[in-house]
Amino acid sequence: MNEQHPSRSDGAILRVEGLHKSYGDNHVLRGVSMQMRRGETVVVIGPSGTGKSTLLRCINQLSVPDRGRVWLGDREITCKKQNINCLRAEIGFVFQNFNLFTHLTALANVRIGPMKVKGLKKAAATELAMDELARVGLSDKADAYPAELSGGQQQRVSIARALAMSPQLMLFDEPTSALDPELIGEVLDVMVSLAKEGMTMLVVSHEMGFARSVSDSIIFMEGGVILEQGPPEEFFTAPKEERTRVFLSKITELYGE
């Protein structure tokens, strides 16, 4: 793709260059390069085990890549001298299985970052957290513990938890694939409105409706590399790679249009 060798200074918010990651003998990422502009929504698709989650985790260093570099704006995340906690605080991460803090209420889950990372006073952090809960439509669940919430509600709290840090970039790792079908919509609605508000989002998802209507660009990953990337119209109607075509037809079979 024309994005394989991103140049320095065209205002990219996220830049990934030549990322490699192995787990033992398993060479998972084999040179991934990409970039995103501020406000863009990029959807990543690809077969299971191809390294999509690994890519997201390498971007905010939850897994440390073996080789390659990642920049957030003009700061290099992969640089050893950077305070990784500060940079991570600017990158929201939404997990497939929510990973809400089990011992904390919805409100406390959202509040913990602003309080313990940003050092906000409790009152200010509470106000902020309540705003974020309102944004995902869960003001009335502030005092509920994760186990008392449905999967869809838990995922919306986890989005609020990420938003409370005012991130520059949000990473979503299959945010709806652990959910019962009837709960997927409420999470996608939140994501759609985030995209509309101009949040920069990198989303691993096989929700083709979301990809089609919201994304600016779609990435197809296979075997640890990006095989193809393009805007959704092009990507769905005229995929360049045979592998992409095969995968898309499988996906449509599995999930419907």
Binding site: F95, N97, I112, G113, A147, S158, M165
Partner: protein, 229 residues
């Protein structure tokens, strides 16, 4: 003198000695708690040399008799500390001996609790920008401490009973005073029945308190198997 009159007559002395028992127990359990948490965290999160050291500590204290450890601390530590100009009382020596031992057992309970927490909790904590230390403090430990209450209760009850070993280092705790009374009055059996009853009452009260603590600290979905998913 009937049993109850006899029991009544020795009760004041025994209750007085019970205070010493409670001091020894609470001192050693608190010391064991503090040291135990650091041992457990070192064992789970530490770099290899720390994991190795903490593992060795735990193996050593679980693999040698408590009484021997106590005697080593009691006879070995004070002269050594005295050479550094520090005086410690027999009570302090007993608390240190029993506490260091308790730490090894408590560490294993804490480690089990920490390791039973899903790895996603740590990952999520790091993803909001918490450092490892803060993630442990605000996310891992609050959960682990709740999860550990039932097994930790056992350790506390053991340490109430093990405090009687301080008798060997001549602290006037419950068992020691019981033995003196038994010799003195020649009513051995009855004396020890009263002593046992006092231990039992302490254990029952402590169990009840721990149960209340467990109820208070309970959080839906933590510790009990979750019904959904």
């Amino acid at each position: 003198m009937g049993f109850f009159a006899f029991a009544w007559s020795i009760l004041p002395d025994l209750l007085h000695a019970t205070r010493m028992t409670l001091w020894i127990t609470s001192g050693s359990i608190v010391l064991g708690f503090l040291v135990g948490i650091f041992l457990a965290l070192g064992r789970v999160y530490g770099p290899r040399p720390i994991r190795w050291l903490t593992g060795g500590y735990i193996q050593f204290f679980r693999g040698t008799p408590l009484l021997v450890q106590l005697l080593v601390v009691y006879y070995g530590l004070p002269p050594y500390l005295a050479s550094l100009g520090i005086q410690i009382s027999p009570l302090a020596a007993a608390i240190i001996g029993l506490g260091l031992n308790s730490a090894a057992y408590q560490a294993e309970y804490f480690r089990g609790a920490v390791q039973s927490i899903q790895s996603g909790q740590m990952m999520a904590a790091r993803s909001v920008g918490l450092s490892r230390v803060r993630a442990i403090r605000y996310v891992i430990l609050p959960q682990a401490l709740r999860l550990v209450i039932p097994s930790w209760s056992n350790e506390l009850i053991y340490s109430i009973k093990y405090s009687s070993l301080a008798y060997f280092v001549s602290l006037t705790e419950l068992t020691f005073v019981g033995k003196k009374i038994a010799l003195h009055t020649a009513r051995t059996f009855e004396t020890y029945v009263v002593v046992a009853a006092i231990y039992l009452v302490i254990v029952l009260i402590v169990s009840r308190l721990l149960w209340m603590l467990e109820q208070r600290a309970r959080i839906p979905g933590l510790g009990v198997p979750t019904e959904h998913r």
